[in-house]
């Protein structure tokens, strides 16, 4: 087996991975960095982020406001010390990106322009029209090219983390082009593999967002945290799930039910006037908006489309000039994928799975409980999102914690002796398991297993949850994993660029992540943030559940869920209110 020695291995070439790689290359020039990604970095899902990234710079804004918006947006399930660090670093990272060439949208005088996003007291979202993620990713990728210490391994699919002597010492990957296993021997690794929204069928995410980073860490005994909190973005195109950014509403777009009524005023987000107003109506948080859609849908006040029910996102009153300047991609996407011109017609939208708040447990430095393993970005649970992520905190998270994790990994790599010799044997045996899939006869097709997974998750662990249905989902997932273990039928038995094989390996991880979500959700007997129950647990219960869920892998058996306390420094939990009530509160 080919062995590649590297001080630090970074798994994932999206925003977090690239930021981590640059941090290592800049701060620890002597170290070698292997950037291992299953796609060429600029294909990573960061590219699809639209609306923007948070950073306090507006004169009306303050770090305290960013802190408050984040903690209340997360329904007080945030690690407040981590949030404190986070908000203090965001603006620095946005400026850093500016100096690397990111084309942030500006005011006429050339200074940075910021827009409102949902749940914000002040405008705080840095944006590059409505292609913020695209510009951030390409800026990071291109910037990374100036550091010779960063060795890219594009289209290498990581399958396993390898642990010896209680610390992470290697990463097993498959070279996609040849299908050959490759061992990356390292002193530290940063997991930056993104989220797991492809656990669900209707989602806004790219096909690569399958959660295997979480799965790899989980398999090595690292707990996943807060996996029950899955964010539905309220405005995605029915069917395709393509995202219509929150920036649409930030710029003044409104949501209407089939009667042309701005229904959000009926769900504690009103009153209507004055408009626009921060943290009210369409500028409420994502969980509330998606839940309001569910109620409207139940009441039969949504529109019928060929791909399910929808409401209207109306931008027409913004005028063509503003729409084309601020939301050009939305225009193109709506025209191409929904055959609707936002200048002249409202866009049909419905919620779709967008983000996994939970992830691999790690601290403010990105360190996981496994020595040598760090995590950053959507795959991690550093603790800033709580029960519901505030829009535009995720791009900021990639940068702030990508850098932090990179620096921590570099420090760790410097202090760590060389890898153990036993590693190669372990790598060989893991590789054999994967290669064996190519030889096995019979089994179920990948597409069939995936389809079943989507059905189970949407029925059991959707926007609105009930105990018995979640319990049923847990059972069905156990069966589905059993079916997966029994064998996956592959048409393609070759090694070279066998995407069917890789999809099957991915699916193994995805199933585990799905199971972690379902079990954590079942045990949380309250409603908080994105986790909404309608079976007698409609209220938040700080007595019993002001705590994180930790999900521990039990191998082939269903997971074990424990709870751990939430760090609260200066914001005691209080009622989470938006709209008119929020003004009375502050």
């Amino acid at each position: 087996m080919q062995v590649i020695q590297s001080d630090v291995v970074i798994i994932g070439g999206g925003g977090a991975g690239l930021r981590a790689a640059i941090a290592v290359a800049q701060e620890a020039p002597g170290l070698s960095v292997a950037l291992v990604s299953k796609v060429v970095p600029m294909r990573s899902h960061t590219v699809a982020a639209e609306g923007g990234s948070a950073g306090v710079i507006h004169p009306d804004d303050s770090l305290d406001k960013h802190f408050d918006d984040t903690v209340s947006g997360g329904d007080w399930l945030c690690e407040q010390d981590v949030v404190e660090y986070f908000v203090g670093q965001c603006t620095r990272e946005m400026i850093q990106l500016e100096q690397w060439g990111c084309p942030w949208s500006r005011r006429d005088d050339g200074s940075i322009n910021v827009r409102f996003f949902g749940g914000m007291k002040s405008p705080r979202t840095w944006f590059a029209a409505d292609k913020t993620g695209f510009h951030i990713l390409h800026t990071l990728f291109q910037t990374s090219l100036q550091f010779p210490a960063i060795r890219r391994h594009d289209e290498f699919f990581c399958t396993d983390l390898l642990v010896e002597d209680g610390r992470l010492q290697g990463v097993l990957a498959l070279c996609i082009a040849t299908g050959e296993p490759v061992l990356f021997q390292c002193k530290a690794a940063v997991l930056a593999t993104g989220g797991a929204s492809r656990v669900f069928g209707q989602n806004t995410n790219a096909g690569i967002v399958t959660g295997e980073g979480m799965g790899m860490a989980y398999a090595q005994g690292v707990p996943l945290r807060d996996m029950e909190f899955v964010q539905w973005h309220p405005t995605a195109l029915p069917g395709s799930g393509i995202l219509m950014t929150e920036g649409c509403r930030g710029e003044g777009g409104i949501l209407l039910n089939k009667d042309g009524h701005r229904y959000l005023q009926d769900y504690g987000l009103g009153p209507l006037d004055p408009w626009p107003r921060p943290r009210a109506m369409e500028l409420g948080p994502r969980d509330r908006l998606s839940q309001a859609f569910w109620h409207e849908d139940q009441a039969g006040r949504t529109l019928q489309t060929p791909h399910g029910t929808a409401v209207h996102l109306d931008l027409r009153h913004l005028g063509e000039k503003k729409i084309m300047e601020r939301l050009p991609m939305i225009c193109e996407l709506a025209r191409t994928f929904a055959a609707v011109d936002p200048v002249t017609a409202p866009i049909p939208v419905r919620p779709a799975v967008h983000y996994t708040m939970g992830g691999v447990l790690c601290d403010v430095h990105g360190a996981t409980p496994l020595p040598g393993l760090y995590a950053a970005g959507e795959c991690s649970s550093v603790g800033i999102h709580g029960a519901n992520r505030l829009g535009s905190n995720s791009l900021a998270e990639l940068l702030v914690f990508g850098r932090a994790a990179g620096l921590s990994a570099a420090r760790h790599a410097r202090e760590t002796p060389d890898a153990s010799a036993a590693l190669q044997a372990q790598a060989e045996s893991r590789a054999a398991v994967h290669l064996d899939m190519l030889r096995r006869e019979g089994g179920t097709r990948v597409a069939q297993l995936r389809q079943r997974l989507h059905e189970i998750m949407e029925a059991g662990v959707g926007i609105v949850r009930e105990g018995p249905r979640m319990a049923q989902a847990c059972e069905q997932l156990a069966q589905l994993r059993e079916q997966f273990r029994a064998g996956v039928a592959l048409d393609d038995r070759g090694r070279a660029f066998n995407t069917e094989w890789l999809t099957a390996i991915e699916l193994g991880h995805t199933l585990q992540v799905a199971e972690a979500m379902a079990h954590a959700a079942l045990l949380r007997q309250e409603s908080r943030g994105a986790h909404m129950r309608i079976d007698g647990f409609e209220a938040r219960d700080d007595e019993r559940f002001l705590c994180h869920s930790l999900i521990h892998s039990q191998g082939d058996a269903p997971p074990r869920v424990t709870h751990s306390p939430v760090t609260i420094t200066r914001s005691q939990p209080k009622a989470r209110v938006y709209g008119g009530a929020a003004q009375n509160q502050s």
Binding site: Q2, C175, A177, T178, E180, V182, A496, F497
Partner: protein, 132 residues
């Protein structure tokens, strides 16, 4: 090292059959043959002019022949197509032009070039009618 994957490289033979834009491109480039040929034709005229009246009258007489008419009609088409395509791509080659702070759209540049074509042609015609 992981062995490089065995890849297949497709040949480029008859690549111009693959897209109409390629054939338009080759046609455009092909006009240059006529441009060069016309230059040689003019050069021949010059030679005859230097050689004296008898020689020149041969060249002058050739202009009346059907061959010359066909040649000239072909040249006319080639020059016209050359001019059209030349002006069409001209906005891609000129440095950015702004008018009152707004970038001048390509079609304006194209239109201006067509005007210039017309004006130059008329001027040439007037001069020819005056001096020939």
């Amino acid at each position: 090292m992981t062995p490089a994957p065995k890849t297949y490289v497709r040949p480029m033979n008859r690549w111009w059959m693959r897209h109409p834009a390629y054939r338009r491109y080759l046609l455009r480039e092909g006009t240059s043959v006529m441009v060069a040929a016309y230059a040689l034709f003019l050069l021949a005229g010059m030679v005859c002019l230097v050689l004296g009246e008898t020689a020149f009258n041969l060249w002058r007489g050739f202009l009346q022949s059907p061959v010359s008419v066909i040649f000239h009609l072909a040249a006319l088409a080639a020059f016209a197509f050359h001019a059209w395509t030349w002006f069409k791509v001209m906005p891609l080659t000129t440095p950015p032009i702004r008018f009152r702070g707004q970038p001048v759209p390509d079609r304006m540049i194209f239109r201006a070039a067509l005007w210039a074509w017309g004006i130059a042609s008329v001027a040439l015609l007037v001069l020819a009618m005056r001096f020939l």
